[in-house]
C-alpha cells in the first residue's frame, strides 16, 4: 500500500513538472545553414547590414554582406530582423538551484570553507525548468558557479541545449571562485523599531578577521604552488591539485568582491601569484577603474539593476558604472543575478548600460564577446566570426530593449534549438481555456 501511495505521488510529481518534457535537445547539425538578409551585430562592436552567415558542422564558415548562400543550404531569412551572438550569462547558479526556498532543490553550497576541489559541472541539471526560459531570451551559454565558503569551488561553462551535463559542458573547471571576506565593520546593533541606544561592535574586528582569512588563503596558494611544482607526491592533496591551473593561467581566479578595499586585496593575487583574476560583483569598481586596467583585471558586474550602494551615491550610479569602466579600458562583462527573474533579463541589464553611456554595440559586447573573454571561451564563441561555434540568435528587434526584443530563432553549435519553454506552454494552455487567439 505504501508503495502504491508513493508511486502515486511520484506520478503526480511527474505530471506537475511535465510541461517541458517534449522540448528535445536538437541533434548535431547536418548540411549547411545560411542566415540571410540579416543585420548582423558581430559582438565585437561591428554591425554588418544585410549580411549572411554560413554555418557548417556547427561552425561559422563565412560572414559578411557579400557572402552568398551555398546551393542546397537551409536558408533562414532574417529580413528585417537583428542577428546577434548567443548571449552568455557569466556567473549563475543555473542548474544547481531550482527553487531557492526548497532546500532539496539546491546543490550550490558545499560544507566547509576551502572547496577548490568542488566542481559545479557534476551537479548541473540540464532538465532545470529555468534553462529554457533563458534560451527564450537569447542566452545560450552560462558559467555555472558554486557558492559559499572562502573558496566555493570550480565553475564550468555550459551550453544550454543538452541531454546531460557531459553533453552540456563547454569548458570545464576553468574558474576557481574565491569569496572575499567583508572588510567593513558590521553595523552596531540597530535598536530595533523602538529606537534605543544601540548595541556594541562585536569584540572581533571584522576587517582584521577578514584580512587574516585572506592571509590563510595566500598560505594555501603558496603551498599549492610548491606542491604543484613537483610531479610526484607521497600523499595526494586533492585541494592543491585542483588549483594547478591557476599557476599556469589555465584557470582564472574569480574574486567575488565589491568594496574598494576588497578589490585592492584581490590585486594582491595578481601581484604575488600572477593569477588571471576576474572580479565579480565589483559594485565600487568605478572608483578604481584605472588601477583595474593597469593590472589587467577583468570585471563581471553582477547586478546592473541595483540601487546605489550608498545614499550619497548618484541615484543612477550602478547604471553608469559600465560606461566608466569602458572609458578606463577595463574589460568587463555584465551579469544578471536577479533571484526573482533568474537571469532572463541579461540583455536588458546591458540595455540600461547603454542608456547610461555605452553605445548599443558596446553594451552587446559586454554580454557576448567580453563575457566569452572573461570565461576564456572567446576562441570558440562570443562573436559572429569565422571559425567560431555557430551560437547565434535572431530577434525581431533590438535585443537590448524589452519593448522590441523577441527571439525567434537560436542556434547552438549550428543546431537550431527549440525555443519553447514551460512558460510558453502554460500560456498556450490557458489561452486555450479562455479561447484567446494567437498571436498576442
Amino acid at each position: 500500500m505504501k508503495k502504491i501511495v508513493s508511486s502515486f505521488f511520484s506520478l503526480l510529481l511527474l505530471l506537475q513538472v511535465s510541461a517541458q518534457e517534449t522540448v528535445y535537445p536538437a541533434p548535431k547539425q547536418t548540411g549547411t545553414t545560411v542566415i540571410t538578409n540579416a543585420t548582423i551585430h558581430v559582438g565585437n562592436g561591428k554591425v554588418i547590414q544585410n549580411g549572411s552567415i554560413v554555418i557548417t558542422d556547427g561552425k561559422i564558415v563565412a560572414v559578411g554582406a557579400d557572402v552568398k548562400a551555398p546551393a542546397g543550404a537551409t536558408v533562414v531569412d532574417a529580413q528585417g530582423k537583428q542577428v546577434y551572438p548567443g548571449l552568455i550569462l557569466p556567473v549563475t547558479n543555473l542548474g544547481l538551484v531550482e527553487t531557492p526556498s526548497v532546500r532539496a532543490t539546491s546543490d550550490v553550497q558545499e560544507l566547509g570553507e576551502l572547496n577548490p576541489n568542488i566542481r559545479s559541472i557534476v551537479a548541473y541539471n540540464t532538465d532545470s525548468k529555468i534553462i529554457n526560459t533563458l534560451r527564450s531570451n537569447g542566452i545560450l551559454l552560462a558559467n555555472i558557479v558554486p557558492e559559499g565558503g572562502l573558496i566555493s569551488g570550480a565553475s564550468s561553462v555550459v551550453q544550454l541545449d543538452a541531454w546531460n551535463w557531459e553533453d552540456a559542458a563547454y569548458k570545464t573547471d576553468a574558474g576557481i571562485h574565491f569569496r572575499m571576506p567583508s572588510l567593513i565593520a558590521r553595523p552596531r546593533g540597530f535598536g530595533g523599531f523602538g529606537g534605543g541606544a544601540g548595541g556594541q561592535q562585536p569584540p572581533v574586528d571584522p576587517v582584521k578577521q577578514g584580512l587574516e582569512q585572506v592571509e590563510r588563503m595566500k598560505s594555501f596558494f603558496r603551498e599549492a604552488k610548491a606542491y604543484n611544482s613537483v610531479s610526484t607526491h607521497e600523499e595526494t592533496n586533492l585541494k592543491f591539485a585542483s588549483v594547478k591551473g591557476l599557476f599556469d593561467r589555465k584557470q582564472k581566479l574569480y574574486v567575488h568582491a565589491n568594496t574598494v578595499k576588497q578589490m585592492l586585496v584581490a590585486l594582491d593575487f595578481v601581484k604575488e601569484f600572477n593569477f588571471d583574476v576576474v572580479i565579480v560583483g565589483a559594485s565600487d569598481s568605478w572608483q578604481i577603474a584605472d588601477l583595474l586596467k593597469q593590472n589587467n583585471v577583468m570585471v563581471v558586474l553582477n547586478q546592473m539593476h541595483s540601487l546605489p550602494t550608498l545614499e550619497d551615491d548618484d541615484v543612477d550610479q550602478p547604471y553608469k558604472t559600465p560606461a566608466m569602466l569602458q572609458k578606463a579600458g577595463v574589460l568587463f562583462a555584465i551579469n544578471d543575478e536577479d533571484g526573482q527573474t533568474r537571469g532572463r533579463n541579461l540583455a536588458f541589464n546591458a540595455g540600461t548600460a547603454s542608456t547610461y553611456g555605452l553605445s548599443k554595440e558596446e553594451a552587446l559586447q559586454a554580454i557576448t564577446l567580453n563575457a566569452a573573454k572573461v570565461l576564456g571561451v572567446d576562441d570558440r564563441t562570443g562573436s559572429i566570426e569565422v571559425g567560431k561555434d555557430a551560437n547565434i540568435i535572431i530577434s525581431t528587434g533590438d535585443i537590448l530593449d524589452m519593448k522590441t526584443s523577441t527571439v525567434t530563432d537560436a542556434f547552438i553549435q549550428g543546431r537550431k534549438i527549440n525555443l519553447d519553454d514551460k512558460q510558453k506552454q502554460l500560456n498556450e494552455r490557458y489561452k486555450q481555456k479562455y479561447g484567446l487567439k494567437s498571436p498576442f
Binding site: 523599531f193 546605489p308 536577479d338
Partner: protein, 1023 residues
C-alpha cells in the same frame, strides 16, 4: 555567613546614624542623637531660580527644608553659620529621565521571525493582561533602593532630585520622584507615584506581538480602549491588574520615551487620539524637524549625547559614512538651542550619555550652538519640577521646599566654576569640598637649620604634585590631604643634598619637622603666599562654536535646504508625444499645461505667459507612475506577531527620510502604495503616499484616499520557512492553506458578530428600562467591519490558483470583496473567476522560480488577465525595480503582445482604478492632479529616462538639477570629512569610522541584493 551579615548590619547602622531625624517607627540601637540640620548660609549670591538672584543673601534650612531665603539676612539663634562669601547658591538640578535605584532588566530577543517559533501569549504569571509588554503594574517606588555609588556621580554634576522608572516595556508603570540623598528609602522617595511611562519598545517581553513600530502603536491604542472598557467592570474580563493599574495612573504626568523626531510625532498622535498630552523624551535629532516638534505642544526631555567624531582619514572608510550621519554629528549640539529658539519647553537629562561626566562639557557645547544659560537652568530645575507638579517641593530656592542646593565658586555653568557641595534634603554632600578654600598656590617655606634659616618657595600644584623653587626649580615628591603634608626633595640638581619634610596643615600655614641627608634635624614653616595658575582640564573639552551646514529636508542627501525646496509652478510642456491615457490616446506634437497643481489643459498650441516652458520636442509625456505594491518610506512593514493584525496601520509609521522616495522619483514614480508585509493572513492597513520629497509624514499621505488593507495567502502566512528538517517548526496557526481559509472565515465571523453587537447596543442605547452595556471596541474588528461595509478595500498577496479560488469563495460566503489580488502570479489560471468576483490584479512582469508557490508563474500572466478583461497593474514590491516600472510595463508588450498604450496604463491608470483614486490621478485629463513625467524616449523602452518628475505641479525630480544636487552632496561630504579630520588632528577623541548601513524593508517574500551597506529589516536582531 553570620559574620558577614553582622558586618553589613554594622554598616547600615553607621549609615543611618548620619540621618537628620530618626524615623519614629525604627528602634534605635544605642543612644538617641536627634539633630535638625539647622544651618544658615550667609553672604552668598543666591540664585533662587533662573530669573531671580539675590546678592549677599542668607539661606536658612532646618529639618531638610528651606526656612528662608533673604537678602542680607540674619543667622537665627541655634543655627550653624556657614560663611559663603564669594560663593553662589543654586537649586540642585532635577533629572526627569533617570533609572537611578531601579533595576533595569536585560532586553531579550522576542520579535517575529519567519523561521523561529512564536510566543503567542504572555509568559508572565499572575492576573495580568494578555501582553507582556504592557507593564503598567510596575511601580518604580516598590523596587527602588538607594544606591550611593550611582547617586554620587549625579550629585557631583549638581543633581539633587531624579524621576526614576523601570525602562522596560511599552507601558512601564509609574516613576518615583526621589532625592539623591544617601538615606533610608522611606525618606528619599519624595513622591511615590510621580509619573506614568510609555515607549515603543517592548523591552524584555519575549512575546511575539508586537514585533513592529506599528504594532507597538496599535497595542497602545487598543490598551487605551480596553482600559476605558474595563472601567465598566466587564464580567468576561475578570480581574485584570494591568488594566486596573493603567487606569489608576492616567492622572499622573504621562511620559513617553519616543527617542527620535518621527517617533515623537507618532507618540504625540496617540496622545491626541486619547486626550493625553505626553511629555516626550526625544532622541537628539529633533532640530531636523523643529516645526513639527513645536506643533506637538509637548514639553520635551532632551538628552545631550552627541555623536562622536569618526576617524575618516582613510577615504575608503570615509566613503561608507553617510552625509546624513556626518551632518548629524555636526548639528546635534544645535538641538537644545533649536528648541529654545522655537519656544518649545524642555527638560535636560543625563540619560543616553555615554559617559555621565561629559554632561557639563556637552551642555557648554550646546551653549556654543545657541542654548542660553537661563534656559538651561530652567530646563534643569523649574521645567521638570513644573511638569511633574512638584514645583512646590523642588526646583527653586524658596521657603518650604526641600533644601536641595549647590554651593559653587561662581556661575554654575561657567567652565572655571567648581561645585563645592551639593546639599540634598538638608544633608551636605561634598563634591569638591577641598577646593572650598583652594590651598593650591605658592608658599614661602623657611627651614630653621642649625646654620640659620633657609628660604624656598613651594609651588603647590595638586595634592600629589609640587615643585620647590630655590636656586633650581625641582619637582618634589609631595603629599597633601588637607591635614598632613609631606615633601621629599633634592633642592639642588647637582647638590646631592636631600630634604625630607613632614608637617601638619593649619589653614594657610603649615609647620613641621624635617631631616636632611646628613641626618640633621630641623623645624620648618610654610605660609601661603599667592594663588597658583589656573589650569583647564583638557579632558572635559567642549566643541567650539563655528559655522555649521544647513538642515536639509528631508535630512538626507538630495534633501532641500530651508528655502530651496521646489515650489508649485505653472508648467507648460510643449511639442511632446503625449500619452493621455484617455480616449484621445497618444497625441503627437502636443502640449500639457499644469497650473495650481492640476492639469489645466492638454492639446495643441497651448500657452500661458506665466508658465515655465519645458521643450518636449522628441520627448514623451505621461501621467506619473503609480506603484501598487511598495514597502518604502516606513519604519516597519511586517507585524507578524499574530495571524490577524488588521489593527496595525502603515500610516502610523511613515518615514519621510527614506532616500528611496527620491530614487523612485528619478524613475518617474509619483505615487506609491505602501503595503504591510505578508507575514500573516490579515495584515495591516496600507497607506497611499505621494512622493513629495521633503514633506513630513502627514504631508506624504494621499488626500481623500478611502483606505486599503493587506491580506496574504500561501507560503509566507503558513510560515513555510519555519522548519526542522522536512517537518514544520511553526506554532502559529495556520500551518496549511486549509488553515488559512479557516482564519479568514473565523475573522469575518467574529467581525459580523461584533458588528451586530454594536448595532444592538446602538439600537437599545438610551431606551428606557434597558441597561445597554457597550461592547468592547476592538481595533482589529473595526477594520474588518470597514471591509464588510465597503469602506476599506483589500489588496491580497496571493500566488496559486487554489488559494485565490478559496479566498474568493470565502469572501462570497462571508459578504466581503477582494478589491485587488497582488502578486497573483497564477491569476492567469483563474482570471475568469476573478473577473466574476470583480477583483483587480496587480502582478509582476516576469518574476518566477524564487520559491515553491511561483513555479507556475509566467510572464504572460498580465497579458492573459488583461485579455480576459481584468484591470491589471504591474507593481514593484522592490525599491530598485520601482524606478523601472515603465520598463516592466514594456515587458508586457514583449510577453503577450499587449498594445503599448494598454501596457503603459498598467503602471499609471490601472493602478489608480484599483486604488480608487482614478478621479485624481492616472491620466492626463484636465482637472486631475499635476502628476506628470517627461521622458527622454518612449516610456516603455529601456532607453527612456525620466527628465522631470512632477507631483502636484511641483518638479521634485529634474535630471539636470539632480547633477547639481549631487555636486552639493559631494562638496558637503568633503567639507565634513575635512572637519572631522581637523577634529582628530586637534587631539579630540575619534571613534573608528562607522559604516552607515541602511535598513531596507521588504515584503519578506523574496530576496534582493541592494548592495553591501543595505540590511534587510528581517535580518536585524529582534528587539
Amino acid at each position: 555567613m553570620r559574620k558577614s551579615k553582622c558586618f553589613w548590619l554594622a554598616i547600615g547602622v553607621l549609615l543611618w546614624s548620619t540621618r537628620l531625624l530618626a524615623q519614629p517607627t525604627f528602634p534605635e540601637n544605642g543612644i538617641a542623637d536627634p539633630r535638625h540640620g539647622f544651618y544658615a548660609f550667609t553672604n552668598a549670591t543666591i540664585v533662587k531660580d533662573a530669573s531671580t538672584t539675590l546678592s549677599n543673601a542668607t539661606l536658612v534650612i532646618r529639618d531638610g527644608r528651606i526656612i528662608s531665603v533673604t537678602a542680607g539676612g540674619k543667622v537665627p539663634a541655634g543655627a550653624v553659620e556657614v560663611d559663603c562669601s564669594g560663593k553662589f547658591l543654586y537649586p540642585s538640578f532635577i533629572d526627569i529621565y533617570a533609572d537611578y535605584g531601579t533595576a533595569q532588566p536585560q532586553r531579550q530577543a522576542g520579535g517575529f521571525n519567519f523561521a523561529q517559533q512564536a510566543q503567542l501569549t504572555t509568559a508572565v504569571k499572575g492576573a495580568y493582561g494578555w501582553n507582556q509588554a504592557i507593564k503598567s503594574d510596575a511601580d518604580a517606588f516598590r523596587v527602588f533602593a538607594v544606591d550611593d555609588g550611582k547617586a554620587k556621580p549625579l550629585r557631583d554634576l549638581g543633581f539633587g532630585t531624579v524621576l526614576s522608572h523601570v525602562r522596560d516595556g511599552i507601558a512601564r508603570g509609574t516613576g518615583a520622584l526621589v532625592s539623591l540623598a544617601n538615606d533610608k528609602e522611606n525618606m528619599v522617595i519624595l513622591k511615590d507615584r510621580a509619573s506614568a511611562h510609555y515607549s515603543f519598545s517592548k523591552g524584555s517581553s519575549t512575546q511575539s506581538y508586537p514585533s513592529s513600530m506599528m504594532g507597538s502603536i496599535a497595542l497602545l491604542r487598543q490598551t487605551y480602549l480596553d482600559a476605558q472598557w474595563y472601567k465598566t467592570k466587564p464580567v468576561l474580563e475578570g480581574l485584570n491588574l494591568s488594566l486596573q493599574a493603567w487606569n489608576d495612573e492616567q492622572n499622573l504626568p504621562q511620559i513617553f520615551e519616543a527617542g527620535d523626531k518621527w517617533n515623537n510625532l507618532r507618540a504625540d498622535r496617540i496622545g491626541d487620539e486619547f486626550g493625553v498630552q505626553y511629555i516626550i523624551k526625544g532622541g537628539g535629532n529633533e532640530y531636523q524637524r523643529i516645526r513639527e516638534m513645536a506643533a506637538t505642544k509637548a514639553t520635551f526631555i532632551l538628552p545631550i549625547n552627541y555623536p562622536q567624531a569618526q576617524d575618516v582619514e582613510d577615504p575608503n572608510d570615509a566613503r561608507l559614512v553617510s552625509l546624513a550621519d556626518m551632518k548629524h554629528w555636526e548639528l546635534a549640539p544645535t538641538n537644545p538651542g533649536a528648541f529654545e529658539k522655537a519656544g518649545i519647553p524642555f527638560c535636560l537629562t543625563t540619560s543616553d550619555l555615554r559617559d555621565i561626566k561629559s554632561f557639563f562639557a556637552n551642555l557648554r557645547t550646546a551653549f556654543n550652538y545657541g542654548l542660553t544659560e537661563t534656559t538651561a537652568l530652567n530646563a534643569l530645575t523649574k521645567v521638570p519640577a513644573t511638569v511633574l507638579g512638584v514645583y512646590d517641593q523642588v526646583g527653586s530656592l524658596d521657603a518650604g521646599k526641600w533644601a536641595n542646593f549647590l554651593i559653587t565658586s561662581g556661575p554654575v555653568f561657567n567652565e572655571r566654576t567648581t561645585i563645592y557641595q551639593n546639599w540634598v534634603q538638608g544633608m551636605k554632600y561634598s563634591v569638591k569640598d577641598d577646593s572650598w578654600k583652594d590651598p593650591k598656590g605658592t608658599y614661602k617655606i623657611v627651614l630653621n637649620t642649625s646654620t640659620g634659616p633657609v628660604n624656598y618657595t613651594l609651588d603647590f600644584k595638586s595634592n600629589s604634585a609640587a615643585s620647590l623653587i630655590g636656586k633650581d626649580t625641582v619637582t618634589s615628591k609631595f603629599y597633601y590631604d588637607g591635614r598632613q603634608v609631606r615633601i621629599n626633595v633634592a633642592p639642588e640638581r647637582r647638590g646631592g643634598q636631600n630634604l625630607a619634610l613632614s608637617g601638619i596643615v593649619n589653614d594657610n600655614s603649615w609647620s613641621g619637622y624635617g631631616v636632611d641627608s646628613a641626618g640633621n634635624n630641623f623645624t620648618w614653616t610654610a605660609v601661603y603666599d599667592q594663588p597658583g595658575m589656573q589650569r583647564s582640564d583638557s579632558s572635559r573639552r567642549t566643541r567650539p562654536a563655528g559655522p555649521v551646514g544647513k538642515v536639509m529636508y528631508p535630512f538626507e542627501p538630495f534633501g532641500w535646504e530651508e528655502g530651496s525646496a521646489p515650489k508649485q509652478e505653472t508648467i507648460l510642456i510643449k511639442n511632446a508625444t503625449v500619452w493621455t491615457n484617455e480616449k484621445e490616446g497618444v497625441l503627437q506634437n502636443a502640449d500639457v499645461l499644469i497650473r495650481n497643481g492640476k492639469i489645466a489643459a492638454v492639446g495643441k498650441n497651448l500657452s500661458d505667459p506665466a508658465a515655465r516652458v519645458i521643450d518636449g520636442t522628441g520627448k514623451h509625456v505621461t501621467a506619473g507612475i503609480i506603484d501598487e505594491h511598495s514597502h518604502i518610506a516606513a519604519a516597519s512593514i511586517n507585524e507578524g506577531g499574530q495571524s490577524v493584525t488588521s489593527e496595525v496601520r502603515i500610516a502610523d509609521n511613515l518615514n519621510p527620510d527614506d532616500i528611496n522616495i527620491y530614487r523612485q522619483l528619478s524613475g518617474g514614480v509619483t505615487t506609491s502604495h505602501i503595503l504591510h508585509g505578508s507575514a500573516n493572513v490579515i495584515g495591516g492597513q496600507t497607506q497611499l503616499i505621494k512622493l513629495r520629497w521633503g514633506a513630513n509624514d502627514d504631508e506624504l499621505k494621499f488626500k481623500n484616499w478611502p483606505g486599503q488593507i493587506k491580506f496574504a495567502l500561501g507560503e509566507n502566512v503558513k510560515r513555510s520557512t519555519s522548519a526542522i528538517g522536512n517537518g514544520s517548526n511553526n506554532n502559529r496557526y495556520p500551518d496549511t492553506r486549509m488553515g488559512v481559509e479557516q482564519v479568514l472565515v473565523d475573522a469575518f465571523t467574529r467581525a459580523k458578530d461584533y458588528k451586530k453587537a454594536w448595532a444592538d447596543y446602538d439600537a437599545n442605547k438610551g431606551k428606557k428600562g434597558v441597561a445597554a452595556i457597550a461592547p468592547r471596541r476592538d481595533l482589529e474588528l473595526d477594520a474588518l467591519v470597514e471591509i464588510l461595509d465597503n469602506k476599506r478595500f483589500i489588496t491580497c498577496h496571493s500566488y496559486v490558483q487554489s488559494e485565490i479560488n478559496s479566498a474568493m469563495e470565502v469572501a462570497n460566503r462571508m459578504g466581503y470583496h477582494y478589491n485587488t489580488f497582488t502578486h497573483i502570479l497564477e491569476g492567469y489560471k483563474v482570471a475568469d473567476k476573478m473577473l466574476k468576483h470583480g477583483a483587480n490584479a496587480s502582478t509582476f512582469s516576469d518574476w518566477w522560480a524564487y520559491k515553491m508557490e511561483v513555479q507556475d508563474a509566467i510572464p504572460y500572466n498580465a497579458a492573459i488577465m488583461h485579455r480576459v478583461g481584468l484591470n491589471v497593474a504591474i507593481n514593484s514590491d522592490d525599491a530598485e525595480m520601482a524606478r523601472r516600472l515603465n520598463q516592466e510595463a514594456g515587458k508586457i508588450v514583449k510577453y503577450g503582445g499587449v498594445s503599448e498604450e494598454d501596457a503603459l496604463k498598467m503602471v499609471t491608470l490601472n493602478p489608480t482604478i484599483m486604488l480608487h483614486v482614478d478621479q485624481y490621478v492616472g491620466s492626463l485629463k484636465p482637472g486631475k492632479d499635476g502628476d506628470v513625467v517627461v521622458w527622454s524616449d518612449n516610456p516603455l523602452s529601456i532607453y527612456a529616462k525620466s527628465l522631470y518628475t512632477i507631483v502636484d505641479g511641483t518638479v521634485y525630480f529634474d535630471r539636470q538639477k539632480d547633477e547639481q544636487l549631487q555636486r552639493g552632496v559631494d562638496q558637503e561630504r568633503n567639507r565634513l570629512v575635512k572637519k572631522m579630520n581637523g577634529e582628530k588632528r586637534s587631539g579630540a577623541p575619534v571613534i573608528p569610522a562607522q559604516p552607515s548601513y541602511q535598513i531596507m524593508h521588504t515584503c519578506s517574500d523574496h530576496y534582493h541584493s541592494h548592495g553591501y551597506l543595505t540590511i534587510d529589516a528581517d535580518d536585524l536582531s529582534n528587539d
